[in-house]
């Protein structure tokens, strides 16, 4: 008690001697940190809140949705909604399909992007500037612009007439994953331009002397790349992979255009609302009209299920995510 008083006295003493400056500074600091705390809390809450609401509402029975006294805590808690959503989205099956598609696609994307970005970062070849401008174009051009054309290309796939010569006609590749993998392996997948850009920034930041030393010691170009550059770039490659995985996981555009043969979770989720009428009706032929609150609730659950694996993944990897990205951005 006495000690506290002395420090307090000391503070006022110092404040008096500084002519009020100390008090002004201290109160300014406190005000700033209070404002900061309020702002941060508000914004964080805004990001988290939809997740909480969704989770709370997912446990409600239908009558709770109309009870205006029920806001967050369900009065009639139930887990049956999850069963409905699992049926509607074909839960374990579609999730597994999405998982392997996302894995394969992101591996292909990252391999292709790593190779190309290393080429851009370290080698000097004719038309380099032009090709890099193409990478930037790739980031800028919305895939929607070329989607009808790609649709036609793959619906009647014909590689310079070779396939027509062998099989007597073009083949329809739309329901196959091959064309999409082909696009990923040639750096044309989902947001692939961005990965090339990010990886190139990183490779540029690695000192050239490292490679030169390896070269002097008799290490070949590819050997250097695999043994020296790749291990060094692992964090950023990992975060590109994570980005790719996450974006592929939730992608609807490419899935709808090229992967029509596979039921991915995102696709099922987007058509869920129209499937509901049939699902809830008693007989096979009739459809009931599901009211909007109910529809919204079930879709929210689907979104929640979709997010959960990603959030878990993110919690484990956020260090790599954030740190490696912080390393690239600024250098140019």
């Amino acid at each position: 008690m006495t000690k506290e008083r002395t420090t307090q006295n000391h503070f006022w003493e110092r404040n008096r001697r500084s002519g009020g400056y100390l008090l002004k500074r201290r109160s300014k600091q406190i005000a700033i940190s209070v404002i900061r705390a309020v702002l941060m809390f508000g914004l964080c809450f805004m990001i988290i809140q939809p997740l909480i609401t969704r989770f709370a509402r997912s446990l409600m029975e239908e009558k709770d949705l109309y009870d205006s006294t029920v806001v967050l805590l369900p009065r009639h808690a139930t887990l049956v909604n999850y069963k409905y959503v699992a049926d509607l989205t074909g839960f374990p099956g579609t999730m597994i399909t999405t998982l392997w598609i996302s894995l394969v696609v992101s591996v292909c994307q990252v391999v292709a992007a790593t190779l190309a970005s290393y080429g851009f970062a370290r080698f000097d070849f004719p038309l380099k500037k032009f090709w890099f401008a193409c990478v930037v174009m790739l980031i800028i051009i919305p895939p929607q612009t070329i989607s009808p054309a790609l649709y036609m290309t793959f619906a009647q796939f014909d590689f310079f007439g070779i396939i027509t010569a062998i099989r007597g006609g073009p083949i329809n590749l739309r329901s196959n994953i091959l064309p999409y993998l082909m696009m990923c392996l040639t750096c044309m997948g989902l947001k692939n331009g961005l990965f090339i850009y990010m990886l190139r920034q990183y490779f540029k930041s690695i000192p050239v002397s490292l490679e030169e030393a390896a070269y002097v010691d008799g290490c070949g170009t590819f050997h250097t790349f695999i043994q020296i550059m790749l291990p060094d770039a692992m964090p950023i490659i990992a975060s590109c992979f994570l980005f790719s995985f996450v974006w592929q996981w939730t992608d609807l555009f490419y899935a709808r255009n090229f992967l029509t043969g596979y039921q991915t979770y995102a696709v099922r989720m987007s058509t869920m609302a129209s499937a509901m009428g049939k699902y809830f009706s008693a007989s096979e032929t009739t459809q009931v009209i599901v009211d909007p609150h109910r529809t919204m609730q079930l879709i929210s659950i689907a979104v929640l299920i979709c997010c959960v694996p990603l959030i878990i993944l993110y919690c484990f990897t956020q260090r790599t995510f954030v740190e490696s990205l912080a390393m690239t951005g600024s250098k140019e």
Binding site: R36, C134, A149, Q156, D251
Partner: protein
């Protein structure tokens, strides 16, 4: 490294037996080309070719059955802009929304990045939460709840119910302020931003990361020097932090514009998809859809160009 070569020398680098072929530079050039070869192939086959095809399709009437094309000149464009009742309206709405949202995103992400760069308790947790939108606002997720047909049918009813029962604070405030008659146009924009704040925060994950990386690369000794010279925190923010980070403004601005233009919940994209696949009682017409995509792409490109110009003129580069 960057010595200028003639065209013939460049070609010689790839032709065995020539004098240039055996040089070290040529060897490195060939290996480099090999590294980006997949990209070159992909770009030509899956980007340039579809682009040309799509350009061609926008000038043709397309019969979906046999993929036959009939040259119709610019009538698809005329249809998209003059006949189609929704396209124009949606395009204008989206551009307006974009202008507001991009500016708000830039300001918001910059402020958040500055705060996250300070040291305070719970900083790590805040960072984790702020980058969560990178995941949560990707792909199908942002638009799924609003693009639900049944829901759209009922939104009017929902809204009227909500207005009757609940108290909407921002609307009440807006009414109050617009009654007092102060520059209502400005207030409209501000309230639009406030109402869209959730979308803005959800869209600014990557931008925060980019700004944050810029902030972290500023040497602390700069601030120290400024402090010794008697600079206040406010002054050193405008004299050091802002100029050092401003080159990233361009990157972020372009990223935000593109991100906004390509979002799934974008009305124009939805409309183009509807026209392409003939959904929502729309006749499937790939020709018109291509024309619309090209108009849309042109607008997006124009915006990227304009903002690049403005920012490069306004912001001095300190490289």
């Amino acid at each position: 490294m960057s010595s200028r070569r003639t065209v013939s020398e460049s070609i010689q680098m790839y032709v065995p037996g020539t004098k240039m072929y055996r040089t070290m530079a040529a060897r490195r050039a060939r290996i480099g080309t090999l590294f980006i070869l997949p990209f070159i192939i992909g770009f030509i086959f899956f980007m340039v070719r579809p682009l040309i095809l799509s350009m061609q399709m926008s000038f043709n009437q397309i019969n979906i059955k046999g993929f036959t094309m009939k040259w119709v000149g610019i009538s698809n464009y005329e249809y998209a802009l003059k006949v189609d009742t929704e396209f124009n309206e949606r395009l204008v709405t989206e551009i307006g929304r974009m202008a507001v949202n991009v500016i708000a995103t830039l300001v918001m992400s910059f402020v958040i990045a500055v705060i996250l760069n300070q040291k305070f308790k719970g900083r790590i947790l805040c960072r984790i939460i702020f980058f969560l939108p990178v995941i949560l606002s990707s792909g199908v997720l942002p638009g799924i709840e609003s693009s639900n047909e049944f829901y759209n049918m009922m939104t009017d009813i929902n809204n009227s119910v909500q207005n009757a029962s609940g108290v909407n604070i921002s609307a009440a405030l807006q009414n109050l302020l617009s009654v007092s008659g102060v520059a209502s146009g400005v207030f409209d924009v501000i309230f639009q931003m406030i109402n869209a704040i959730y979308d803005i925060v959800m869209a600014s994950g990557i931008q925060i990361i980019i700004f944050l990386s810029g902030l972290q690369s500023i040497s602390p000794s700069l601030y120290e020097a400024a402090d010794v010279e008697g600079c206040s925190g406010w002054e050193s923010f405008w004299k050091i932090t802002f100029p050092m980070v401003s080159p990233l403004l361009l990157v972020n601005c372009i990223y935000s514009i593109i991100d906004f233009f390509m979002k799934n919940d974008n009305q124009v994209i939805e409309h183009i998809n509807n026209v392409t696949y003939g959904m929502n009682a729309m006749a499937a017409d790939i020709g018109v859809a291509s024309a619309m995509s090209w108009i849309y792409f042109g607008v997006a490109l124009a915006f990227v160009g304009i903002s690049t110009l403005i920012i490069t003129l306004a912001v001095k580069s300190y490289d």
